[in-house]
């Protein structure tokens, strides 16, 4: 529950006067990370911190953390169904719990809990099953009836007369939100301090290849040699893999979100519904932050279709009648890369020294510290960290899928 007593936003920290340098690329690096979003920056941080590897560049085609990292709705939770997912997301959640100290930077991690609503008999069965699976994995999870849902989130409409009445919810109290920009800046500042080159406005446009090794990357700022390449390009991973002649089962889709004007604190937790495709939390400053589903078709345009927002707002107003008077301030989209089993693809590629981290789709923000940690280990050791080993590209051939559509698809 929110314990804020100050006006919303009053306790937001001041920006520091210095964040990171803006260096020109060197001729060569031990590790070149493509993509300066949360995942790329966290990977750089843990390469230094856990493995002592500092000759690292993070190459970002736009501005640092201006992709999905700046566009997501910041929900953090670990209540996934399968053991493989529970392991990596819970590892990440534990890191979130200590991240402010690790980074020496405020990230406004607020553990206000998440309610995942159930609207049908089958939703109830699936939810209870997921709660039990979570408990077996040591993850905090409970099943709540409609009255208990209302106790945690008083503004929710639990009337039986709405189109999809609330039949209950799963609840993870340790779930929460963080301030995504601050998270990126915290990682960036730490990595910069440790000697990592964060290079903006530097698009990777191709690779130089020698047999089954990549010897360098071609960029809009010249060729850069590398020992290892780590792809953290989220929605643009297919474009990069195409340069290498490597295929992966990824499809890029626009995913939209929107915020309302600032309101006083009305919404103390996070509420998500897969069935009616809306989820809501209230940001630190007071905006209602809402997300919906992905647009059905492939897209790289960082904008989505209006009817998706229309549907999402209809669902939100039915669940939260008080929202009817809130004004929409702005909406935007990111490009997310989805896989057939709604789980990420991490690890080896056909090139010996190229590693991929992609396919987090609509839900990779919560994984930021966890994947940074495990991907750094993978790069440093040339072998996947045990937590990410199940997410290799070859699972689509062996059939060992990690089918997280129930816990991951659409909801974040």
């Amino acid at each position: 529950m929110s314990t804020e007593t100050n006006p919303p936003g009053a306790d937001l920290p001041e920006h520091p006067d210095f964040l990171w340098h803006n260096p020109d690329p060197k001729k060569t690096y031990d590790v070149v990370i493509v993509g300066g979003g949360g995942h790329g920056l966290a990977t750089a941080h843990y390469l230094v911190k856990n493995h002592g590897i500092t000759n690292v560049a993070v190459l970002e085609k736009g501005w640092l953390a201006g992709g999905n990292m700046a566009r997501n709705t910041t929900l953090i939770r670990s209540n996934y169904l399968w053991d493989e997912s529970a392991a990596i997301y819970e590892h990440s959640l534990k890191l979130w719990e200590g991240l402010e100290d690790d980074l020496g930077y405020p990230i406004l991690f607020s553990q206000r809990g998440v309610l995942n609503l159930a609207h049908t008999e089958q939703d109830i069965r699936d939810s209870v099953r997921r709660v039990e699976a979570n408990k077996l994995n040591g993850i905090d999870a409970e099943w709540l009836g409609p009255e208990e849902v209302k106790r945690i989130c008083p503004i929710i409409n639990i009337s039986e007369d709405i189109r999809y009445p609330v039949q209950g919810a799963t609840y993870q109290p340790r779930a929460g939100i963080a301030k995504h920009d601050y998270v990126a800046w915290g990682f960036a500042r730490r990595a910069d301090e440790a000697g990592v080159d964060l290079i903006q406005d530097c698009e990777v446009t191709g690779f130089t290849v020698d047999g089954d090794r990549v010897t360098g990357v071609r960029t809009s700022r010249g060729d850069i040699g590398c020992g290892t390449v780590a792809l953290c390009a989220a929605g643009h991973t297919s474009v990069l893999l195409d340069h290498l002649g490597v295929r992966a089962p990824l499809q890029s889709h626009p995913l939209q979100a929107l915020v309302s004007e600032l309101l006083e604190p009305v919404h103390p937790t996070i509420v998500m519904s897969n069935a009616v495709h809306v989820y809501v939390s209230q940001a630190h400053k007071g905006e209602l932050v809402m997300g919906a589903g992905v647009d059905s078709y492939n897209g790289y345009g960082q904008r989505g279709a209006f009817h998706i927002i229309e549907r999402q707002m209809a669902a939100a107003v039915e669940l939260f009648p008080v929202f009817a008077r809130a004004h929409l301030l702005r909406s935007w989209a990111g490009i997310v890369d989805v896989t057939p089993d709604a789980s990420p693809i991490i690890g080896h590629t056909p090139y010996e020294n190229v590693f991929v981290n992609a396919g987090w789709g609509t839900g990779g923000f919560k994984a930021t510290p966890g994947i940074g940690w495990c991907f750094a280990h993978t790069i440093a050791n040339g072998e996947p960290h045990p937590y990410v080993a199940p997410f290799s590209l070859d699972r689509f051939t062996t059939g060992a899928l990690v089918d997280e559509h129930g816990a991951a698809a659409v909801a974040h």
Binding site: Q251, S252, S296, N298, F396, T397
Partner: protein, 91 residues
């Protein structure tokens, strides 16, 4: 929201349509001879270009027929829509 040109009904609103992914994915000619990798590619792998993409759409709230469209995945502009090619298989 944009207008999509159904080859049978003409321009209709986007909400009337259903997306079907990449076009012209042919069922394997000799399924029994496929390796696991080839099966994986048939079932799970699709192109994901940033640019022109040939894809299937169904006019699900109209004539309910499938057609092929070429659309730019960056600008979202449709450059053509056409009735599906005959392949011997029912389309």
């Amino acid at each position: 929201m944009q207008l999509i040109h159904c080859p049978w009904c003409g321009p209709r609103e986007e909400v009337e349509f259903h997306y079907g992914g990449q076009a012209e994915i042919a069922y394997p000619e000799r399924p029994a001879e496929l390796s696991d990798q080839e099966w994986a590619e048939y079932v799970f792998y699709r192109d994901n270009p940033k640019g022109a993409f040939a894809e299937r759409w169904s006019h699900s709230a109209g004539c309910r027929r499938w057609f092929t469209a070429v659309r730019d995945t960056h600008t979202y502009r449709f450059s053509s829509t056409a009735k599906p090619r005959r392949t011997g298989v029912r389309v």
